[in-house]
């Protein structure tokens, strides 16, 4: 199978993730879309690695997964705290950081 198809899939997943981040209000969903974008990138890395016969892309994919895991821990904790204090997980409600 032509590896370029994987790239198309990666681009599609990334676009879905980006649209979800921009459109959806629920913090959990936004968070999942961010993960989707990260994994779209991972897929692209792995594909390129395969296409160029070079392992660098696969290694970077592992790094990304580790970072994403760490991010999930911190991000989920924040979201849970916000939900506890405001009884809402909407990102638009948490808009106090403005002048």
């Amino acid at each position: 199978m032509n590896p370029v198809n994987y790239l198309y899939l990666a681009a599609l997943l990334f676009s879905i993730g980006a649209a979800g981040v921009l459109i959806r209000r629920n913090a959990i969903v936004v968070f999942m879309c961010v993960e989707l974008m990260l994994n779209a990138c991972n897929l692209a890395f792995v594909t390129f690695s395969r296409m160029h016969g070079n392992l660098d892309g696969q290694i970077i994919a592992f790094f990304t997964m580790v970072v994403a895991a760490a991010e999930v821990v911190v991000g989920l904790a924040i979201i849970v705290m916000i939900f506890r204090s405001r009884h809402s997980a909407s990102v638009d409600d948490a808009s106090l950081m403005k002048l």
Binding site: V21, L22, L99
Partner: protein
């Protein structure tokens, strides 16, 4: 012997320090301390003088090196003194006449509660002036020069509770600054030209410099001399300086301050000798001022201001003589010394008259005082005869020599200068006779003092005016004795100096001397001087001696009215300098407000407004920030791709 030169300055300086820092506990004895220190400075001067006389003419210069003041690379300023015949003459005049004025002030300032401070200032004045004349380089001279300016400011404004005195002091200080500017520029020019400003090297190598440089230095020195010596165009402070106590006027006019300019020009003779244009400027200033001062002196009714005009005029003679070059230096200094005696005597006499007349200064309200103040009358009279050049008295010998030297300048210039000097002599005779007649002769024109703020000791008979009639009386001994001593000087000094040309031989090794070729014989000049003297006295007699003098001044001719206003000097300054200066500063203030501040404030306002708009972008919605991030990333990627495609 040279080790004690520093004492000449140190003693009065010590007096000033002790009196000014000593506080009230010195109030009772301070004036004696000041006087004794001034007198001991004179004694040191006399000892040095005696020592100097014991050596031959070319071997008389003494040097004392104290310490290196500012040694920086090639720049080196020393605190070192040089005492030669010229300095010696000044030292004796300054400390001698200064001491007499100290003694006089003991009586004159007796009722002033700030007398201690007054003596402190007087001592400071003496110290600064002595430093000025014994410095061995121009920078140290400048220190003394500024010290004199400071002391004159403090003394002219001594009665600072009077706004007029405070203003006069400021005026004197500011006008003097203009001259000081000239001196500092001259010193800088000297340093760039000669690499030093010690008298010895500068004056020795003056001949090597180009004439243009010497002219520039000379003109700057002349500006300095104009400020300190009250010469046109910087003379306007002298008349107002009469606001100070009378002993101060005597000190400024006779021994210190105004003589500094003459000293500077004579000391810098080598520079002027190489710059004929600068010399021409000097003689022009001298000739103009001697007529200017004389005319002002004719119109003033205030006895001190009349004498101030006279000082201006007499210093004009000295500057004129100093500008003539080697034919005139000696006579400039000789006239300076004789003038020191009779002008100090005249001022102290005027002070004595005011002392007896409840501080009245208007001569039209004097009259007939000779019976009431015999000692003042005689001493003032001798000073008067000396200043108009009565044969045999001091002024006769010195002024006659200057007029001769002016003619000896040669050519048209010589005739013009000689004629100006002769005319000045006639006017001098006129205005001094006027002062004499108005004050001591004629009927009494005394007026009750309008507001007796200082009640006199004896109860006054009430007069029609409601105020007190003055009770003229002779002044105390502390005041009359200095006047008598000065009167002796006024009578004999000139003759003594001219005996065997002793003064000429005394100063010649320092200033040099050459006889010009006068188109007129000495006898002719003397006779002409006598003739104009008689004419001047006769006119004054006809105007003020034969007929009664009105108490209120008549309106007078246009010239009289102008002369009463110092020949419109202040008006000229106001129109030519003050008003444009005010417009300039107003313009600059406007420029500062609109342009400089405008740029700064405008920039700040622009950024403020911009940030006001920009901050609206910070709306706090995470998703809108995400949009900006995506947008930015998209633009970056698009740009990168575009660049790659190109």
């Amino acid at each position: 012997m040279e080790n004690i030169i520093g004492l000449l300055v140190a003693l009065p300086l010590l007096g000033a320090a002790v009196l000014l820092c000593g506080g009230r506990r010195l109030d009772r004895t301070g004036h004696w301390l000041g006087t004794i220190l001034a007198a001991s400075s004179f004694v040191v001067g006399a000892v040095l003088f005696a020592d100097m006389l014991g050596r031959s003419g070319d071997d008389r210069t003494l040097h004392q090196f104290l310490f290196s003041w500012i040694p920086v690379g090639g720049f080196r300023a020393d605190v070192a003194f040089q005492l030669d015949q010229l300095s010696m003459t000044f030292v004796l005049l300054i400390t001698g006449v200064g001491t007499l004025i100290h003694i006089y002030s003991i009586g004159y300032m007796e009722h002033d509660e700030r007398r201690r401070r007054f003596f402190g200032y007087l001592n400071l004045f003496l110290a600064a002036m002595v430093l000025l004349v014994i410095a061995d380089n121009y920078l140290l001279l400048y220190v003394g020069w500024e010290g004199v300016g400071l002391a004159s400011y403090l003394l002219i404004g001594f009665w600072q509770h009077k706004p007029s005195a405070a203003t006069a002091a400021k005026k004197a200080f500011i006008v003097n600054r203009v001259g000081d500017m000239g001196l500092s520029i001259a010193i800088m020019l000297m340093f760039t030209t000669f690499g030093t400003f010690a008298f010895g090297p500068v004056l020795k190598s003056a001949g090597d410099a180009s004439e243009g440089t010497l002219t520039a230095i000379g003109l700057m020195l002349l500006l300095a001399a104009c400020g300190k010596s009250a010469q046109v165009p910087l003379q306007s402070w002298l008349g107002d300086a009469m606001e100070g106590p009378t002993p101060v006027s005597a000190l400024i006019h006779a021994a210190t301050m105004v003589t500094a300019g003459v000293y500077l020009i004579t000391r810098s003779g080598a520079i002027f000798n190489g710059a004929p244009d600068a010399q021409l400027a000097v003689v022009t200033v001298g000739a103009v001022t001697l007529l200017f001062g004389a005319i002002v002196g004719c119109a003033k009714d205030d006895i001190k201001k009349a004498l101030a005009g006279s000082t201006m005029s007499q210093i004009g003679y000295m500057i004129l003589a100093a500008g003539l070059g080697p034919i005139g230096y000696v006579f400039a200094i000789m006239h300076l010394v004789t003038h020191g005696f009779f002008k100090a005597g005249l001022f102290l006499g005027a002070g004595s008259v005011m002392h007896g007349m409840n501080d009245e200064v208007d001569m039209r309200k004097f009259g007939g005082l000779r019976k009431y103040m015999p000692i003042t009358y005689v001493t003032f009279g001798l000073g008067y005869l000396a200043i108009i050049g009565f044969p045999g008295l001091s002024g006769f010998w010195s002024k006659d020599k200057i007029i001769e030297a002016a003619f000896a300048k040669g050519g048209t210039e010589g005739w013009i200068l000689g004629a100006a000097a002769l005319l000045g002599a006639a006017i001098t005779a006129y205005y001094m006779t006027r002062v004499m007649l108005l004050t001591f002769f004629g009927e009494k024109r005394w007026q009750p003092t309008p507001s007796p703020d200082e009640p006199s000791a004896e109860p006054a008979a009430d007069s029609a005016g409601g105020g007190e009639m003055p009770h003229p009386h002779e002044s105390p001994k502390s005041m009359t004795v200095p006047m008598i001593v000065l009167a002796f000087g006024s009578v004999f000094a000139g003759g003594l100096f001219s005996l065997n040309d002793s003064f000429l031989h005394w100063l010649e090794p320092v200033t040099g001397h050459s006889h010009g070729h006068s188109p007129l014989s000495a006898l002719t000049v003397t006779l002409a001087t006598m003739a104009v003297l008689v004419v001047g006295v006769a006119i004054a007699w006809a105007q003020y001696g034969r007929k009664p003098v009105p108490v209120t001044a008549p309106r007078g001719s246009l010239l009289t009215r102008a002369a009463r206003r110092d020949l419109l000097q202040d008006d000229f300054n106001h129109v030519a300098l003050v008003t444009p200066g005010q417009y300039l500063t107003r313009g600059l203030v406007y420029l500062d407000h609109s342009v400089v501040d405008g740029v700064v404030n405008g920039t700040a306002a622009a950024f403020g407004g911009l940030s006001g708009r920009m901050r609206k972008l910070q709306n706090g919605y995470a998703r809108s920030y995400a949009v900006s991030m995506f947008g930015g990333a998209a633009i970056l990627i698009a740009a990168t791709l575009l660049m790659r495609a190109v």
